[in-house]
């Protein structure tokens, strides 16, 4: 083969390789666009937790919030547990999710502590870590009383 023909061949070869790379990149881009999960859940808003009259007097009261939950194409109901307690004149709402690995804590009336069943995380009534592995205290949620309905609402 002569030199000019050789260079023509390699130019054409580069063009074809480039074209194939372009098609591959296009398809890969599409797959990437589709495969990357969408981030971000629903925006926070005030949700009814319980009636003010159902709030216990001796310790935190667990409230179960039921919400519609969209899990992709699967629709289900998600239940979130929060603990609501009196805090002086106001109220305190704590998430029931242990800050260690996400288990659900329960309130132990006799010890006056929140206990995590998984790895022994222990929190006091205000959600501060007392013992165990949790790196930080229970998450505090905003809570308010709806004056019209006398409902306790938390921001979730």
């Amino acid at each position: 083969m002569t030199a000019p023909r050789d260079s023509r061949r390699s130019a054409l070869a580069r063009l074809v390789t480039g074209g194939i790379a372009l098609i591959t990149a296009g398809l890969a881009g599409l797959v990437g666009l589709v495969a990357v999960p969408r981030s971000g859940g629903a925006a926070k808003r005030w949700r009814r937790a319980m009636s003010l009259f159902d709030l216990g007097t001796k310790g935190p009261t667990a409230a179960v919030l039921t919400e519609r939950h969209e899990d992709g194409w699967y629709e289900t109901r998600k239940q979130t547990v929060v603990f609501i307690d009196r805090d002086g004149e106001g109220y305190r709402a704590l998430s029931a999710i242990c800050q260690h690995l996400g288990c659900r804590v329960r309130w132990d009336d006799s010890r006056q502590q929140f206990l995590c069943p998984c790895h022994g995380g222990t929190y006091d009534r205000e959600g501060r870590v007392v013992a165990g592995p949790p790196p930080r205290g229970l998450e505090r949620l905003n809570v308010r009383v709806n004056p019209q309905t006398s409902d306790l609402e938390v921001e979730l």
Partner: protein, 526 residues
């Protein structure tokens, strides 16, 4: 090429010897005159590649269960970025593959490329064609909408016609006593687990045999020296792939055809239609009624396919020129034309189901659904339940009926369930059935109120436009007989007009303005 990249490639070549493989794969010498007609196989390969890639992407979100298949496809189309386009690519890509396969096959026939020594590869290609059609058939069911479900019902019923073993074949295809969950998982497994490796294996064999025997080249051998495949033929392949890719993207831009209502085995009167490449078979069936059906469904296609498979042994001449093969090419062309004609006839034979207006019960149901104090207590954006949207209703009718009668059944203690009487419930159910696939006509508050009142009060005894009770006269064309004032008198106190009237008096039971509105509305029905 930079020196560093060259060094990396040299190292890689030293350890793997990839350049020899590359050279072997790409520098295949092609006979002079190998031109555009020989790009069709590559186009087909490109189309199959698109199907594999888009299919994998779809599988990330698809759920093969009757409860969720339809919902997951809807989710892909409406919620996933580029999801509509992705599904469009996969849908239209299937058509591109079928067309490319048939054109490729026709090219092989017209060029006589199946001749000795390429008989084995002809058979491999013949099997590949059926694998492609099996992909189309199994994939059609997966969206689990009415179209998918009923086309599959027909396909499985056709398989029952198989002599002697029909029930066994149909049972294997169904996976259970009825077409349902077990059919869906089975066809999904075939579509994504059985056919792809079969396709890949057969394609490799097909290409291996093509390389082993060499490309057949133009009908009349031309003078000149062979040229390597890459890049002298590859650029043609690329141009064709880009052209087909652009066409495919344009088709897919608006997505696949919209999902129909979710599969409903109880729906009566749905006219099933197969995907277009099975329309020819579908049409052929119509010419063989009753006991003869097996001829159109299996025997005739079987005979044609057998002849096609045996082509290399039927046409054993030496010359590949058309002049020497006139008879065979004429028969083949006639066959293609026959398939095309049947397909077109099948396509034209559309069921004439005009979009019927919403009858009074359906309209009343739509109005009740819209009312603030009922469904919208829960079914609103951000509500405890999903908003009621056209095309999103996928619960079966009996579930919906139970839910309307007692919403608490689904979500105990969440909210005070609305009171619903039987006639309202029937109306809501009727409206939901239509909302599966179409939006209600726009209406004003007065009409909505009237629809609800008529449904609640009149339809118990009277029929209007085919819905309602049979105890009283049909009121569909009441306006032909009476004017508004006469009708109003009859509603207020029927005995005033006819002493033997059975109808209860509504004067005092219904607000006077409602009675007037009903009378005016009925008087307008002529």
């Amino acid at each position: 090429m930079s020196r560093r990249l060259a060094a990396v490639l040299d190292w890689l070549d030293d350890r793997t010897g990839f350049r020899v493989i590359n050279h072997h794969l790409l520098d295949e010498p092609l006979p002079p005159g190998t031109g555009w007609w020989f790009t069709l196989g590559s186009v087909l390969l490109f189309g199959l590649g698109v199907q594999v890639v888009t299919g994998i992407a779809l599988a990330l979100y698809y759920a093969p269960t009757p409860d969720h298949a339809w919902d997951s496809v809807r989710f892909i189309t409406t919620e996933i970025p580029a999801g509509r386009f992705l599904r469009g690519l996969h849908h239209w890509g299937a058509s591109v593959v079928v067309v490319a396969a048939v054109v490729h096959l026709a090219r092989v026939v017209f060029f006589g490329s199946y001749r000795k020594p390429r008989e084995a590869n002809w058979i491999v290609g013949f099997i590949l064609l059926h694998v492609i059609l099996a992909f189309g058939l199994t994939g059609y069911l997966l969206p689990w909408d009415q179209r998918a479900y009923w086309a599959t019902v027909v396909a499985i019923n056709i398989s029952k016609l198989t002599p002697f073993v029909g029930e066994i074949v149909a049972g294997l295809l169904r996976g259970g006593p009825d077409i349902g969950a077990l059919t869906l998982t089975r066809w999904y497994a075939i579509h994504v687990l059985v056919l792809p490796p079969a396709l890949a294996g057969l394609v490799v064999v097909h290409l291996y045999l093509m390389r082993r025997q060499g490309v057949s080249g133009p009908i009349k051998a031309r003078a000149g020296s062979p040229r390597p495949f890459f890049p002298y033929q590859a650029w043609r392949d690329l141009v064709m792939a880009i052209a087909v890719g652009v066409l495919l993207a344009a088709l897919a831009w608006k997505g696949a055809p919209a999902l129909e209502a979710p599969a409903d085995p109880t729906a009566s009167g749905y006219v099933p239609r197969p995907e277009w490449y099975f329309l020819g078979l579908f049409q052929l069936l119509k010419y063989f009624p009753g006991k003869l059906e097996v001829i159109g469904a299996l025997i005739l296609p079987g005979v044609v396919m057998t002849i096609l498979a045996l082509l290399p042994w039927i046409d054993r001449g030496q010359s590949r020129e058309w002049r020497a093969r006139r008879g065979l090419l004429a028969v083949f062309t006639a066959g293609l034309a026959g398939v095309a004609t049947l397909t077109i006839l099948g396509g034209m034979d559309h069921p004439k189901a005009g979009p019927a207006g919403w009858n009074i019960r359906e309209a009343a149901g739509a109005a009740l659904i819209q009312a603030d104090d009922r469904c919208h207590r829960c079914h609103v954006a951000d509500g405890i339940a999903a908003p009621i949207e056209v095309g999103r209703i996928d619960r079966p009718a009996d579930w919906l009926a139970a839910h309307i009668a007692d919403p608490e059944m689904i979500a105990p203690g969440l909210r005070e369930p609305p009171e619903t009487n039987q006639r309202d419930a029937a109306a809501i159910l009727a409206a939901l059935a239509r909302l599966r696939s179409e939006a209600p006509p726009a209406t004003d508050a007065a009409t909505a109120h009237l629809d609800i009142v008529v449904n609640r009060t009149c339809l118990g005894c009277h029929t209007i436009d085919g819905v309602g009770g049979k105890d009283g006269p049909d009121l569909s064309t009441a306006g032909r007989k009476y004017d508004a004032a006469a009708i109003e008198r009859r509603i207020i106190n029927p005995v005033d007009v006819r002493p033997d009237a059975q109808m209860p008096a509504f004067g005092g039971k219904l607000p006077a303005e409602d009675i007037r509105a009903i009378a005016a509305w009925l008087a307008a029905r002529k």
